[in-house]
Amino acid sequence: MNITVIFINIFAGGCLIFSFIKDRKKTKQSLLGAAKSFIRILPIVFIIIIFVGLLLGFGSQTQISKIAGEHAGFWGVFLIALVGAIMHIPSLIAFPLAASLLKNGASITTIAAFITTLTMIGTITLPLEIKELGKKVALLRNGISFIIAIIIALIMGVIL
């Protein structure tokens, strides 16, 4: 098994024990919250699992690399970044998805652009952001985030 997986589980277990010793009630409350968010995320996990299975079953490596690979060019990166900005899937699930795309022909640049816009930009939560922070701040944050996501992706493509 992967070291990171072991580490995360030990870390979570350690925090849990520590929290339990300090305050049982708060720990119970947090576990309840954890169970709720786990159930909330499950349908999306299964959707992505099916999606990845179908993608790897039917999409060939050349198809994936044509759309999201080295030869996708700037507009390919731009398009994937746009998809990442609009899509609303939890980033925790996006990483394994990104890894399987990377293994099957996608380039570092497109994957980095996808993950960065996906996490930084929230089109679905934008109305809420505007309501709480005002139009100017919300639009500036999301707009500039899109630009820096592409810059980050391009730099990563050059270095890695």
């Binding site: 995360i8 929290s19 169970a35 039917f58 980050i152 890695l160």
Partner: protein, 188 residues
């Protein structure tokens, strides 16, 4: 507000289950049409499932714990008062703690604005919350490797700080040039 959020969550859950149903139907149809692909599809889906199931519960437990132990009041107290380099570090630190989805952070940020915290710190805090979460980095490390994770982390921090400072400058500049317009904006 809280009821509203719950209602939204419930609706989102129903929507996700419907999409899942459609995905299952599509998968069954495709597999029965192309039986030779069955092995590849089930094998990759299964592998993916195993990977997720080892990580997700731990991450959820971490998020649950921090959401309870690090209260919104603590964040507001520390971020509302500090500025400069220290403010930037604190903004990244509090943003990076594993404490729930982005929409939880907006009300916190709104309180911070009212308390007169620096715009740059608020932007950095929000962006760190969105994309520099500690468990998220661990999952990225597992799936995309050390090089990818570290490089993206460093670049993200650099650019998020630059973005925070420039948005602050833009806001200050536009507020100065059209004070009236800013007042209208604030009242909305």
């Amino acid at each position: 507000m809280k009821e509203n959020m719950k209602e939204k969550q419930r609706k989102g859950m129903i929507r996700d289950i419907i999409i899942l149903g459609i995905a299952i139907v599509i998968a069954i149809v495709l597999i029965s049409l192309f039986p030779d692909k069955r092995e590849v599809i089930t094998a990759s889906s299964w592998e993916f499932f195993i990977e997720m199931i080892w990580i997700l519960p731990a991450v959820m437990v971490l998020m649950g714990l921090f959401a309870v132990w690090v209260s919104k009041e603590t964040v507001v107290k520390y971020l509302g008062e500090t500025s400069g380099i220290k403010g930037i570090f604190l903004a990244i630190f509090f943003g990076a703690l594993p404490t729930g989805p982005l929409y939880v952070a907006f009300p916190v940020a709104a309180v911070l604005i009212k308390k007169g915290a620096k715009i740059s710190n608020i932007i950095i805090f929000l962006s760190a919350w969105a994309c520099i979460k500690i468990p998220q980095e661990m999952v990225e490390l597992k799936f995309l490797g050390l090089e990818f994770m570290v490089l993206r982390l460093i670049l993200t921090i650099i650019f998020v700080v630059i973005m925070g400072l420039s948005i602050e400058k833009i806001i200050e500049w536009t507020d100065k040039t059209k004070v009236e317009g800013a007042k209208d904006n604030a009242s909305i």
